[in-house]
């Protein structure tokens, strides 16, 4: 199930994208054909994908899925911040994979994810509680998931 984060609330919603999600490699093989498809588009990034290669396609994308094969693989956090902050992606940023768990969800939200496909067996109620666990942070974070107090500010926050 896909959970959407809005105003600090997590709600279950069926995926908005009906057309299949493609990988970055597939997209790069034939970007023209892919762009000509109708309807919302979604791309899935693996941890080794360079998000910069997606820059030209971002305006045509509704969803970027970022894969976390395990909770200890932290590359997706950098991909998310780059997509939101440097490349200005405003669509749905969805964390997917076995590493999307209640113990990571606060960090994921701070990096700009606003949708989560929780790993099998994860309790959405527990994920909701985990999102509310911290109301302070030291670092700047996503404007979609602000905290009550943070120490350091970036230009965008």
């Amino acid at each position: 199930m896909r959970y959407i984060l809005r105003q600090h609330e997590l709600s279950a919603e069926p995926p908005a994208v009906a057309s299949p999600t493609v990988s970055l490699a597939e997209l790069r093989r034939d970007p023209e054909r892919w762009r000509s498809q109708s309807g919302p588009r979604a791309v899935r990034l693996t941890p080794t994908d360079a998000v910069e290669e997606l820059a030209a396609e971002l305006p045509f994308l509704s969803v970027v899925e970022v894969e976390f094969p395990s909770a200890s693989d932290g590359r997706g956090y950098s991909q998310a911040r780059l997509l939101r902050e440097r490349l200005g992606f405003r669509g749905e940023l969805r964390a997917v994979g076995a590493g999307v768990r209640q113990d990571q969800i606060f960090l994921l939200a701070r990096c700009g994810f606003d949708a989560f496909e929780l790993a099998a067996g994860e309790d959405p109620e527990a994920a909701r509680r985990a999102l509310a666990r911290y109301d302070v942070a030291y670092q700047p974070g996503s404007s979609l998931f602000a905290v009550r107090r943070q120490r350091f500010r970036g230009a965008g926050s």
């Binding site: 932290g74 590359r75 911290y134 030291y138 974070g141 970036g154």
Partner: protein
């Protein structure tokens, strides 16, 4: 010292609540050991040979007497009445129960302490020079910058799941006492030659462990305002491109080596220039707020005294070896030796902690420092109080006058406690203490640093010991590889292995033959390490492996 504000306190309290819930889930079987491991490690908790081990952070080594009393009480209540100070200025408890860990963390939070990120693949405790703020040769006090880095690194949303552990050290003096060249990032404080502004020389890719490397400079001068932006750039390049397929090749030093330092620097500088405007800014007001916590204590105007004159030789020896110059007239910095002969290097009982807390209140503005050499330091003691302080420390077994000598050795906990170790360190330390129990002989040998690790992970920094001892497993027996010529103080060098490893019972005798070789070769006033550098390894190799008279 730094005082938590509302944000810091709310954060540690919320962190405790989170870990309480995670521990409950693990004990209830809702969280597997594999899933719990990265969570407990980021809260300082290992599962060791006999019991869990809790590594408590002492940021840049600074403690208040209140905090040291709290540590004493925790060690007494939840452990066996002692703790172990480490080379990274942390305190380890060897026997807590897992179920008690959340409560211990809550009691730490009540005195503005934590165990966050003392383990796991994340940014670890930031370390500094133990003479910070009082060293006569200091450019600036590194501790405010350590504190700022500590906060920036704490539960960083992007950098909490790095390829491997990540260690940062800051030194404030040209004489590097923080071993910054063997850290993932080593920062050396500098003043801009033009405007006098504070900044840092940035080194990257140093580290000990399996493949020791000395860090390389990637930026000669980084202005203070850009500190966090530049750290983010380094961490981002590492988080994205550091290897994750092989634990032994996942440190940043491997990435720096595979790219070459020039290309690594280019990637960092590009990342920095792209993010400079967005990255967390270090506002001057925030720097001033933190600096305000490290203002000098209210020193009295005192004159320097001839403290040792007319005193007993035992006091004179202690004064000479266990105290250091202070930038304020009439004051000295005093080492509390955790290297008494017969004791485990770095270990301290709850009662000793309480004694030192009391002495700190009486003589040193209520502050205590943990050093990376596994001793404590009372930094600001009036010279007129030194004799009384010496008597009190001696009564508590904390005045062994051996700081800087061969028996002031560094040792990791080794096979007796650590599940990674190949060999014990405590038995070797005991054998060395027995063999070198004659103080006159120790003083004659002068400054010699022995650093001992129970395995390749090098927690005991054996690569940078004047004499390094590394435990290895040889067909299930504990053997030791001995190296010489390493150094981390000012001039960083990696030691070279002398020859074949020796069994546990032979280590002390082998080291004695090494130092006897030095005694035979040294020039007047020449230190051990300088003789090694002058004559090279060969004579030491021959000396170390000379056959015993009995076997000849």
């Amino acid at each position: 010292m730094y005082r938590y504000d509302e944000l810091d306190q709310a954060f540690v309290d919320q962190r405790v609540a989170e870990f309480r819930d995670q521990t409950r889930r693990y004990l209830a079987g809702e969280l597997s050991e594999d899933d719990f491991r990265p969570l407990r490690l980021r809260n300082g908790l290992y599962l060791q040979r006999h019991a869990p081990m809790l590594r408590i952070a002492i940021p840049y080594g600074l403690l208040s007497s209140r905090q040291l009393r709290a540590l004493a009480a925790i060690a007494r209540r939840y452990d066996r009445g002692y703790g172990h100070f480490t080379t990274r200025q942390n305190l380890q408890l060897n026997w807590p129960a897992l179920a008690d860990a959340p409560q211990i963390l809550a009691e730490l939070a009540a005195v503005q302490m934590h165990a966050i990120q003392t383990s796991g693949n994340c940014v670890r405790n930031v370390t500094a020079d133990h003479l910070a703020g009082i060293a006569p040769d200091e450019i600036d006090d590194p501790r405010p910058y350590c504190e700022i880095i500590r906060q920036w690194a704490t539960l960083h949303p992007e950098f909490t799941y790095l390829p491997r552990k990540f260690k940062i050290a800051v030194t404030g003096s040209p004489q590097d006492r923080a071993a910054s060249e063997v850290h993932d990032i080593g920062l050396q404080l500098r003043r801009d030659p033009v405007d006098g502004g504070i900044g840092f020389t940035v080194r990257v890719g140093g580290g000990l462990g399996r493949a020791p490397v000395i860090g390389q400079v990637i930026r000669e001068f980084l202005p203070l305002a850009d500190l966090l932006a530049y750290l983010e750039a380094i961490l981002r390049v590492y988080n994205r491109h550091g290897r994750r397929d092989n634990l032994n090749k996942a440190r940043i030093k491997v990435l720096v080596k595979s790219l070459g330092v020039a290309r690594f620097r280019e990637q960092v500088e590009t990342e920095w220039s792209l993010e400079r405007e967005r990255a967390p800014r270090l506002e001057l007001s925030e720097v001033e707020r933190v600096r305000g916590c490290f203002t000098p204590p209210p020193y009295e105007p005192l004159a320097d005294l001839d403290v040792a004159a007319g005193r007993a030789p035992a006091f004179q020896a202690w004064y000479r070896y266990n105290t250091r110059a202070h930038r304020m007239r009439g004051y000295r910095a005093v080492f509390v030796s955790l290297k008494a002969h017969g004791a485990v290097p770095g270990d301290m009982s709850s009662q000793q902690m309480e004694t030192v807390a009391e002495l700190a209140d009486r003589y040193s503005f209520g502050l205590i420092r943990a050093t990376h050499t596994q001793n404590l330091l009372l930094a600001d003691v009036p010279q007129r109080e030194l004799h009384d302080l010496w008597q009190a420390l001696a009564a508590a077994g904390l005045a062994m006058p051996n700081i800087g000598t061969l028996t002031d050795m560094i040792a990791c906990p080794g096979l007796d406690f650590c599940s990674l170790a190949n060999a014990g360190t405590i038995a070797v330390a005991r054998a060395l203490q027995q063999r070198f129990d004659d103080l006159d002989y120790l003083y004659d040998l002068g400054e010699i640093e022995i650093k001992m690790s129970g395995c390749m992970n090098a927690c005991g920094h054996h690569h940078v010991g004047h004499i390094g001892v590394l435990g290895v497993d040889k067909h299930g027996e504990e053997w030791y590889q001995i190296s010489i010529g390493g150094s981390a103080n000012g001039f960083t060098a990696l030691g070279e292995v002398l020859g074949p490893s020796v069994p546990q019972g032979e280590v002390a005798a082998t080291i004695e033959r090494i130092v006897e070789t030095y005694r035979a070769l040294r020039e007047p006033d020449e230190r051990f390490i300088d003789t090694v550098r002058r004559v090279g390894l060969t004579p030491f190799r021959e000396g170390a492996y000379a056959l015993h008279p009995a076997a000849a």
